[in-house]
């Protein structure tokens, strides 16, 4: 039995179904991310676990205990809100102590635990400050300390890093993961940022329009996307219409834009129309005689550690990402040869285009 279990969790607002029979198991001490675009139901799911929304159907079990009948204030969960929701009229230490006060923890014990929590988030020196005089990153740490000091069974993070600037966000990703490990608390995070979810989580849950689309470890979700939606949402993808003409345990054959190419082994789809997915970082720029297809560079963008090329090819436009190895990259207008290994291709069912 998993530590946190969602069973057929459903939330309807009138005729709109925000979360549709979501079933999920979260193991103890793991860090799980609910990932998806806005409106996919991830926040509603978190709100139901927190107790701020009542599920229309389904059950939430935490450590074997059914949470349905327990009001939010008795669930004892640590929650970090997107806006941090600090008490602006209290000092950092008073903010952190609030949950302990509510639990009638004695003064000496309270002081000790507040100090320990502030130490965990490296804020001991700012205990007497008011939140207004702090930076976004510091407020984030206060919110985290306030949620962790009550030693919750479950930590809920609602878009915790979305209000921070890019550099600070990367630092906080590592920091948050460190704190979560040190505190040893099972964590459920909601985010729309795929790199955040991949970097921080043990398991990533991809949601779309109220449905759980895929749940797996970050590497697996990225490498083995189960659908075009997941593939497009996690990182960049080149997607082409293709026809699967043969597939067995040793390989497969695909036809794209009238050319027959080798595909990966182990494709279980029946022959017919499929989608071919190729990650930009798996495409190599090669000598013309070794190329599978040729392309002409349309656009070249420099990111510092890598280049992104956009090339016109017989398949259609293709994105190619190249590590910056200190050499000048092909320029706009250059003809380049492109190649890849057959097992880097993903073959997925074709999906109807969405508005």
């Amino acid at each position: 039995m998993a530590f946190l279990e969602l069973h057929g969790l459903t939330k309807r607002y009138g005729t709109i179904t925000a979360v549709d029979s979501m079933t999920l198991n979260v193991e103890k001490n793991s860090f799980v991310s609910l990932l998806g675009p806005s409106g996919c139901g991830k926040t509603t799911t978190l709100q139901m676990v927190a107790g701020f929304e009542t599920p229309t159907e389904g059950r939430i079990l935490l450590n074997g205990r059914d949470l349905s009948a327990i009001p939010a204030r008795e669930r004892g969960l640590g929650i970090v809100f997107q806006s941090y929701a600090l008490f602006m009229h209290m000092t950092v230490a008073e903010n952190v102590a609030f949950g302990l006060e509510m639990r009638k923890v004695g003064k000496a014990e309270r002081a000790r635990r507040v100090a320990a929590a502030l130490d965990l988030v490296h804020l001991s020196h700012l205990a007497d400050r008011y939140p207004r005089a702090m930076s976004g990153g510091q407020r984030q740490r206060v919110a985290l300390a306030r949620a962790l000091v009550i030693e919750p069974e479950l930590l809920l993070l609602d878009e915790p890093l979305s209000n921070l600037d890019a550099k600070l966000r990367e630092e906080m990703q590592l920091e948050l993961r460190r704190i979560q490990r040190e505190a040893g608390v099972t964590t459920l995070m909601v985010t729309h940022d795929q790199s955040e979810a991949l970097a921080m989580s043990d398991r990533v849950v991809v949601m779309e329009r109220g449905h759980l689309r895929q749940e797996d470890a970050p590497f697996e979700v990225y490498e083995q996307p189960g659908s075009l939606f997941v593939s497009n949402f996690l990182g960049k993808s080149n997607v082409y219409d293709a026809r699967l003409i043969a597939a067995d345990a040793t390989g497969s054959r695909l036809v794209v834009a009238g050319r027959e190419i080798a595909g990966p082994a182990g494709v279980t789809l029946p022959p017919g129309d499929v989608a071919l997915v190729l990650r930009p970082e798996r495409v190599e720029v090669v000598a013309p005689d070794a190329a599978l297809i040729e392309g002409r560079v349309i656009e070249r963008i420099f990111f510092g550690n890598q280049w992104l090329l956009r090339a016109g090819t017989p398949f259609g436009e293709m994105l190619i990402s190249r590590r910056n190895s200190g050499r000048a990259e092909a320029a706009v207008g250059d003809r380049i040869g492109l190649g890849w290994e057959a097992h880097h291709i993903r073959v997925l069912p074709r999906e109807e285009a969405r508005a």
Partner: protein, 284 residues
């Protein structure tokens, strides 16, 4: 044109308005308050502090000043006690009910104070609804005196002033982060604790500004004390009126009016300084 000159020129319309409508009448009233008066000769254009000595040397006026500020203070406190919860409930309502509640709260402001106060006179009178009901229920034998008392004035003033408090507190609560209440809830706080520890501190700037409005308006209110209090429960504003229109002693009336203005300003400044120190480091 220099920056300073242009700034002065741009604010000229406002300054003219301010000068003509506030500063000039105020100075004229002040000069009037320094003139002297006798029943046969009328107002004499001499200058002297005689009227102020007359007011400050007479215990009768101290009673009136004391009553006025007691009424204003009690009205303010009751308005806070009513206004803060009402504003909080309004914030929690669905948009539909909230817009209806805003109308309900602001509605009384659309009706003349005189009309509203006359309504209270009907309710509070010796043969009014409240007394009639209590007598018929057998709870009392003789009517409770509510008209022409300070208590009656407070009741009617609260009715007039509550909207100002609700709106001030509401504005403050709207600026606050609604997630803070949820955070308190998730940390184990009940509704009463959330209200006391989170909502009231968030509402504090609104309570402070609302108190200033309600206190100063109650201290200088005229129509409500005139109708409910009459000649028996006199406040400063009705005393000024009587001096001007009854005794025709304009200079004395002007002196009392100046003293009202000064004392209200002093109370407001003191209040402001008191709370500013407490609030500024938190609210910024």
């Amino acid at each position: 044109m220099s920056e300073t000159r242009r700034n002065w020129l741009l604010s000229a319309p406002g300054l003219v308005l301010f000068g003509v409508l506030l500063f000039v009448p105020l100075v004229m009233t002040f000069i009037l308050s320094l003139n002297s008066f006798d029943f046969y000769g009328g107002i004499k254009p001499d200058i002297g502090p005689g009227n102020y000595f007359a007011v400050l040397g007479d215990g009768y006026y101290y009673t009136i000043f004391g009553r006025t500020f007691a009424i204003a203070l009690v009205t303010t406190v009751i308005c806070v006690l009513i206004g803060v919860p009402v504003a909080w409930f309004m914030l929690k309502m669905t948009p539909f009910w909230r817009s209806i509640m805003v109308l309900v709260v602001i509605g009384p402001l659309l009706i003349s104070v005189v009309v509203r106060t006359l309504g209270w006179a009907i309710i509070l009178g010796n043969k009014g609804i409240v007394n009639d009901a209590l007598i018929h229920l057998g709870l009392i034998e003789r009517p409770i005196k509510m008209m022409f008392t300070s208590g009656g004035i407070v009741v009617a003033l609260v009715h007039v002033m509550v909207p100002f408090m609700v709106l001030a507190v509401w504005a403050a609560l709207q600026r606050a982060d609604p997630a803070a209440e949820r955070a308190a809830e998730s940390l184990g706080a009940g509704t009463v604790t959330i209200f006391r520890r989170v909502v009231v501190p968030q509402a504090l700037p609104g309570i402070l500004s609302g108190s200033l409005i309600v206190f100063s308006m109650s201290a200088s209110a005229f129509a409500t004390p005139a109708i409910i209090g009459g000649r028996r429960a006199k406040v400063i504003a009705t005393t000024v009126y009587d001096e001007f229109m009854g005794t025709l002693n304009w200079p004395l009336g002007a002196a009392i009016a100046m003293l009202l203005l000064v004392s209200v300003v002093v109370v407001m400044l003191a209040w402001n300084r008191l709370v500013e120190r407490r609030v500024e480091k938190v609210i910024g």
